[in-house]
Each structure stands twice: as structure tokens, then as C-alpha cells.
């Protein structure tokens, strides 16, 4: 580690109060003056997934209970990856006023979005887990693997988020492109279906999708009740490390240019 790295880590540590304030702002502000408040964060995906489980289980002629657990296990990691990638696009452009007025380590903007969404995601997961238990899903000690899964997913999503946050400053169109790209990627990710149900060029395309290993990290313990295979863990770890390193490298290379382009 160079002194530049040490300086950045020290700076980030000294700004953790601001980071926490931004996370708090993101978490509670949306639901000010609503009756359910923060519960909306949980109700929203639950209702959405229930409808999807109901429609697609009948479409695929699958057992509703089994399909619901299968879908929940895929939607949790997808939901977090999708929100971090798309919401990070606004990390700097939505805070233009602040960035132009006062110096803050800029990494706290994308980092606060990713952290807030991680908290959202963990809480929705807990709510879903309670439902899975209620409808009789298998719960076992393999669930202790999930913190690792969340950590890897967080690193991967944050890496992507760092890149989208900076790129959007330079190319404003990107915030809309990302939303469309994510809709496409959703169908190229085995969330509604199983990867081995595909064949031919689509299967190959899905095989190249970097999100797939992260889905497996959640689906193995939640749906099949087993610890993910070593190869899945290894691939997910590699992808998350490469992504976060690329994200940080790109971010720090462009950091000083951001304020001039807002």
C-alpha cells in the first residue's frame, strides 16, 4: 500500500459521520410522513415478488410455494445489484450543489448509496426469510453462508456503482441507458428460470453474465439448502475483487475532474 492509499483510507475514516448522515438521509427520507414509513421498503418488494411468484408459477406450471422460494432467492441479489447500479448514476449529479460548495471525499456519495441499499436489501431479506419459514421452506445452518454472499455482492455492486457514478457525470445519457440495460440483463439472468433450462446461444450469453454467480450464492443456501459449490464461490470472489478494484481505480483516476463537469 502506498501513502496515497493510506491518505484515502484515513480521509474516509474521518468522514464516516458524513457517510452515515447520507446513508440515513437515503434510508429515511423517502418515507417521511407516510403511514407505513420505512416498512414501504419491505412491503414494496414483497408485494412485487408475490405477484411475480403467483403469475410465473402458474405460467411455468410449478408449485407456488417452491417457485416463490426460488424466485425470492434470486430477486434479493438481483434487486440489490440493480438498485446500486442504477441509483449510483445519480450519486454526483444529484449532489451537485453540495460538491460545488464544500470539499468532501467524493467517494462517500456512491458509497452511501451502496451502503443504504445494502441495509435495505438485508432487511428485505430478513422479511422474506420469515415468509419462507412461514410457508414451510427449509431453514438450516447453511444460512450462515449468507453474510459472505452479501459481502461479495456488495463489493461487486459497489464496483459497478463507482463506475456508473463517474461515467454519468461525463455522459448524462447513461442514467437512462443503464435502466434499459438493467431491464435486458434481468432476463439474461436466471432469476425467473433455471440456468440449465436454457440451451444454445442464449445459454452461452447467460453464461457470460457476471451477475449469475452471485444469484447462485443466494439460491444454493436458500432454495436448495446447501452451501454453494467451491467453484461458484471462487468465481464470485474473483469477479467481485476485480470489479471493486476496477471501480476504485477508475474512480480515483477521474475524481478531480468530477467537479469541473457537473
Amino acid at each position: 500500500m502506498t501513502s496515497a492509499h493510506h491518505g484515502r483510507i484515513a480521509e474516509l475514516l474521518s468522514s464516516r459521520a458524513v457517510l452515515w448522515q447520507l446513508v440515513r438521509q437515503q434510508l429515511i427520507l423517502r418515507y417521511r410522513r407516510t403511514a407505513l414509513g420505512y416498512l414501504w421498503t419491505l412491503v414494496n418488494p414483497l408485494l412485487m415478488m408475490s405477484v411475480m411468484a403467483f403469475v410465473f408459477s402458474s405460467l411455468f406450471k410449478a408449485d407456488l410455494k417452491e417457485f416463490a422460494i426460488f424466485l425470492f432467492a434470486g430477486m434479493i441479489p438481483w434487486g440489490m445489484f440493480n438498485s446500486v447500479s442504477t441509483q449510483s448514476a445519480g450519486a454526483f449529479i444529484n449532489n451537485e450543489g453540495l460538491i460545488k460548495k464544500i470539499y468532501l471525499p467524493k467517494i462517500i456519495f456512491p458509497l452511501s448509496i451502496a451502503t443504504a441499499l445494502l441495509i435495505d436489501s438485508i432487511l428485505s431479506f430478513v422479511a422474506l426469510l420469515l415468509i419462507i419459514i412461514a410457508i414451510g421452506g427449509a431453514v438450516s445452518w447453511v444460512l450462515f453462508f449468507l453474510p459472505v454472499a452479501f459481502l461479495l455482492l456488495f463489493m461487486f455492486s459497489t464496483g459497478v456503482g463507482l463506475i456508473t457514478s463517474v461515467l454519468t457525470v461525463f455522459f448524462r445519457d447513461l442514467q437512462y441507458v443503464i435502466i434499459i440495460a438493467m431491464q435486458g440483463l434481468f432476463f439474461l439472468t436466471p432469476i425467473l428460470y433455471k440456468h440449465d433450462a436454457l440451451s444454445g446461444s442464449v445459454a452461452m450469453l447467460v453464461g457470460l453474465n457476471p451477475v449469475v454467480p452471485f444469484i447462485e450464492l443466494f439460491r444454493a443456501p436458500l432454495y436448495r439448502g446447501v452451501v454453494p459449490g467451491l467453484s461458484s464461490i471462487a468465481i464470485a470472489t474473483l469477479i467481485s475483487l476485480v470489479t471493486i478494484c476496477l471501480g476504485l481505480a477508475y474512480f480515483y483516476k477521474q475524481e478531480k475532474k468530477i467537479v469541473y463537469r457537473l
Binding site: 438521509q25 460548495k101 464544500i102 468532501l104 445519457d173 447513461l174 467537479v259 469541473y260
Partner: protein, 244 residues
């Protein structure tokens, strides 16, 4: 000991003649290298060097657009440049735009913690100064109301009380500001002067030349981004006014 060293500092802005480049334009320009470029570079601060020592009270004068505010923002690290060097020793407090980061949906009290964190206060410090900030702003009654319901004066009072609650080593001011009614203005002005007195170094931009004469022991004159003069307030201001 506080001190500031600025050497060979240039700050370059890119001025776009039409609009921000889209993804499409960026791709197109990879293939099309000729034609007139859609932007030009503009030096807001042009090769400026100076040194400020402990105890200095520095005023910066110049026309609108001379680069005064940009220079202050560079000292506060809002604009970071690849050309030149800035070294700041000491805790620097920018009082450039108070209320930065105030969130309209948050209550006054929540904003003390949010804006305070942005200003670099620790949570413990904020806890300690909270009653004093609220009392100085005279907002005891409305401190748990979202600031979007505040009047402009109430908003300014809270922002000012918070921004001036701690005494920094280096004070950076863009005009002396004080909002609110006459009574508050009087207390605020008094508090500003106290802060200036206690600061180790003070740097201010102002168009009020009498104020600069009375507060500063040194004046920098900027014109079109260049440092024209640096010295005794009376001499520099007089030559600036003659030139103007």
C-alpha cells in the same frame, strides 16, 4: 502554526459552446477528429503564487469574474487542479456558502447534525454545541420543524449559527454575510468579528473596500485570473481603483 502556500496554481474550466457532450457525440468524435472543437479552455486562475503566514489577514479584490471565488474554493479543495500546488496547514473553515447540504425535509435539529458533519464537526462536538447553536439562532420553538417550513431568515440564522459555532485556525470568507432582522444582524456581525479576531489566518473576498482596509493587513488584486498586486491594503486598493 498555520500557513498556506500556493505556487503556480492554475484552474482550468472547459467551456462548452453548445451543450454537454452526449454518448453519441463522444463515439462520433473518435472517428471524426477534424472540425472545430465544441469546447474551449478557460483559465479562471492563471499561474498564481503566494504565501500566507500565521497572523495574516488577507483581502482579495478584483472585478467580477476575476477568479476570486474560484481561488477561495481552490483553497478549500472544492476545485482541485493538476497545475500548481496548494499546501494548507491548519484546520480550515470555509464560510463560502452557508447551509450547504441542508436538507429541506429534515428538521432543524437533524440538519445541525447533517450540516455539522459536512462542516467537519464530530458527533460529540455537535452534541456539545447543539444548545448554543439553537439559542444563538433563536429557534428553540421551531428546531424540530422541517426546515422547508422555515422563513428565509430562520434558515439563514440556523446556518450561520452552526457555521460559526467553532473557531477555525484558518477562516475563509466570501463577503461578510449576515441575514435576518436588524437585531440578529448586529449579533451576527459581532460574532463574525470575534471569529476573525480569533482566527490565526483570515482570507476574505469583498467588494467593500473600506471593510477590507479595516480588517486586512494585506491585499491581493486578481484580474482575469492573474495576480496583479500583493501588498499593503491602502496601496493595492488605490491602484486597483485607479485601474478600474
Amino acid at each position: 502554526m498555520s500557513g498556506i502556500i500556493v505556487s503556480g496554481l492554475s484552474i482550468k474550466f472547459r467551456v462548452y459552446h453548445d451543450r454537454s457532450p452526449s454518448l453519441k457525440d463522444s463515439f462520433a468524435s473518435i472517428f471524426k477528429r477534424r472540425g472545430k472543437s465544441s469546447f474551449s479552455d478557460f483559465l479562471a486562475v492563471n499561474d498564481v503564487s503566494f504565501e500566507i503566514k500565521s497572523g495574516d489577514r488577507v483581502g482579495i479584490v478584483g472585478h467580477n469574474g476575476a477568479g476570486k471565488s474560484t481561488l477561495l474554493k481552490a483553497l478549500c479543495r472544492v476545485y482541485e487542479s493538476d497545475e500548481g500546488l496548494i499546501r494548507v496547514d491548519g484546520r480550515l473553515a470555509p464560510l463560502l456558502e452557508i447551509g450547504a447540504g441542508f436538507h429541506p425535509e429534515f428538521t432543524g435539529r437533524e440538519n445541525i447534525y447533517l450540516n455539522g458533519a459536512i462542516l467537519g464537526y464530530t458527533q460529540n462536538q455537535l452534541f456539545d454545541i447543539e444548545p448554543e447553536v439553537i439559542a444563538f439562532a433563536e429557534l428553540e420553538e421551531f428546531i424540530d420543524t422541517p426546515v422547508k417550513y422555515y422563513s428565509t431568515g430562520m434558515y439563514m440564522r440556523l446556518a450561520f449559527s452552526l457555521a460559526t459555532a467553532m473557531h477555525p485556525d484558518i477562516l475563509v470568507l466570501d463577503e461578510i454575510f449576515a441575514g435576518g432582522d436588524a437585531a440578529f444582524m448586529e449579533r451576527a456581525t459581532k460574532r463574525m468579528y470575534e471569529m476573525i479576531d480569533k482566527a490565526n489566518i483570515m482570507i476574505m473576498v469583498s467588494h467593500d473596500h473600506n471593510l477590507v482596509r479595516s480588517l486586512c493587513n494585506r491585499v491581493l488584486w486578481l484580474d482575469h485570473g492573474k495576480l496583479i498586486a500583493d501588498g499593503d491594503p491602502e496601496q493595492v486598493i488605490n491602484s486597483y481603483l485607479r485601474g478600474a
